[in-house]
């Protein structure tokens, strides 16, 4: 997978306030192919808000996010085609089985895959026995795995934005996710994630951005 040279995510002078509180102000960030951006910070520091701004779900109070030099607000659909976002809420339907959830969430992004491919991907994530169960009987961690299974199919989206991807996962699943993230970075993909854990990735360049309580 080749990411075009212009495909660079850029944030300029981003600011966000919630009520009276300033979460961040004058925040600049740049991301290129093969780079990872880790967003850290205390609870309530604005990690999720920043991630939602970067994927265009929220608008910042000031500043712009641009992709390849174009503001994402003016090219929403083209930008969304480049993006895989897995948020805080897993986007998993309780009434559907794990397999149905995977097929539908991929179809929403315009990818149609075979049922067989879905089963083998779920098996890879250690969910072979749960693939046909309604997800409401699965544990929190298993649901998270169902949501993350999408990542196995998400090329050629160069940009991944993952909000707390390691939360609720056990040791084995965390290692597996790290491997998936590394593969994405080796393919010159871009990764933005928030976490409280220390994880070593194989990125050319890992930028850590700590959001702090502003004084």
């Amino acid at each position: 997978m080749q990411t075009p040279a212009t495909a660079v995510l850029q944030g300029r002078a981003l600011a966000c306030t919630r009520g009276e509180r300033t979460l961040f102000d004058g925040l600049d960030l740049d991301l290129q192919g093969g780079e990872a951006l880790r967003i850290g910070g205390d609870n309530g520091a604005g990690k999720t808000t920043l991630l939602r701004i970067l994927c265009g779900l929220s608008t910042p109070n000031a500043g712009t996010v641009s992709w390849g030099g174009v503001a994402i607000g003016t090219m929403r659909e083209d930008f969304c085609r480049q993006l895989t976002y897995i948020g805080h809420l897993s986007g998993i339907k309780d009434d559907l089985s794990a397999c149905e959830n995977l097929l539908l969430s991929l179809r929403l992004t315009g990818k149609t895959i075979e049922r067989k491919a879905a089963y083998s991907a779920l098996a890879q994530m250690g969910l072979d026995e749960q693939a046909d169960l309604p997800t409401r009987v699965l544990s929190q961690g298993q649901k998270k795995r169902v949501a993350l299974t999408r990542l196995l199919f998400s090329d050629p989206t160069p940009l991944w934005i993952l909000d707390e991807p390691f939360a609720a996962l056990d040791q084995a699943a965390q290692q597996q996710l790290t491997a998936i993230m590394n593969r994405h970075l080796d393919d010159n993909g871009m990764l933005i994630y928030s976490t409280h854990q220390e994880i070593t990735l194989s990125a050319k360049n890992t930028i850590t951005l700590m959001l702090r309580e502003p004084c």
């Binding site: 939602r52 994927c55 265009g56 779900l57 929220s58 608008t59 659909e77 083209d78 969304c80 085609r81 993006l83 976002y85 948020g87 805080h88 809420l89 897993s90 986007g91 998993i92 339907k93 309780d94 009434d95 559907l96 149905e100 539908l104 969430s105 179809r107 929403l108 992004t109 315009g110 149609t112």
Partner: protein
């Protein structure tokens, strides 16, 4: 674009099939309200015939608002709405598919059942036909306008009641022309004008509301 439309439509119908009880709530409410009127007003056939149009239409209106906050609420709560808003297609396509699915599940059964309930009021055959047709054209408008309210009140506490208060005034034209068509038919007058206006409302809301609903969703998801 069509792929996204079909995907969302199929998904919502599948989810409705998994949760059939939700479907029956608004339908049973409709039946119940319509059934109660003859008991309360009294059995004089002439009187019932005169009020039938209004009762059936108001009952349809109320039962369609009853189900409104379900259009987006579940998807909002589990994060699937965010994923849909990030789909690489216009949001209005997704919105249109969701509203159509909602209408197929809550509006269409009510339309199909209405001739049976109209018999109870002793409506003549021709008026029953007009009622059926006016509901067929009018209930999608109710769903489309209602979805605006549902999108705007997403995630608010007590959103359900608020939706009704927001939406009901906007649906008055639909009620006037819908019930007007049936009344005109009962009293032997021309109904085409009413039905054409209803058709115009449907065409107008089909063209305009998806954008408004999409904008409402953006505000709510943020």
């Amino acid at each position: 674009m069509l792929n996204l439309f079909l995907c969302v439509l199929q998904r919502d119908l599948l989810l409705a099939m998994r949760r059939r009880s939700d479907v029956f709530v608004s339908l049973s409410f409709f039946i119940m309200v319509v059934m109660l009127f003859p008991l309360g007003v009294g059995p004089e056939p002439e009187q019932l015939k005169n009020i039938a149009a209004g009762i059936l239409w108001v009952a349809a209106l109320l039962s369609s608002t009853l189900a409104l906050n379900r259009i987006f609420a579940a998807d909002y709560a589990d994060g699937t709405l965010e994923q849909m808003m990030l789909a690489p297609e216009p949001i209005s396509i997704m919105v249109l598919a969701k509203v159509l699915a909602h209408w197929l599940v809550t509006g269409l059964p009510l339309v199909l059942l209405s001739p049976l309930l109209a018999l109870q009021f002793g409506l003549p055959g021709e008026a029953i036909g007009v009622l059926f047709f006016s509901l067929l054209v009018g209930t999608p408008v109710l769903s489309l306008i209602g979805a605006i309210g549902a999108a705007l009140t997403l995630g608010l506490r007590g959103g359900g009641v608020l939706v009704s208060i927001l939406v009901l005034p906007l649906t008055i034209p639909v009620l006037i022309f819908g019930a007007g068509a049936v009344s005109a038919s009962v009293s032997g007058m021309e109904v085409a004008g009413h039905l054409q206006l209803l058709g115009g409302l449907l065409a107008g809301s089909l063209a305009l509301t998806p954008w408004v609903i999409g904008a409402g969703l953006r505000i709510s998801v943020e």
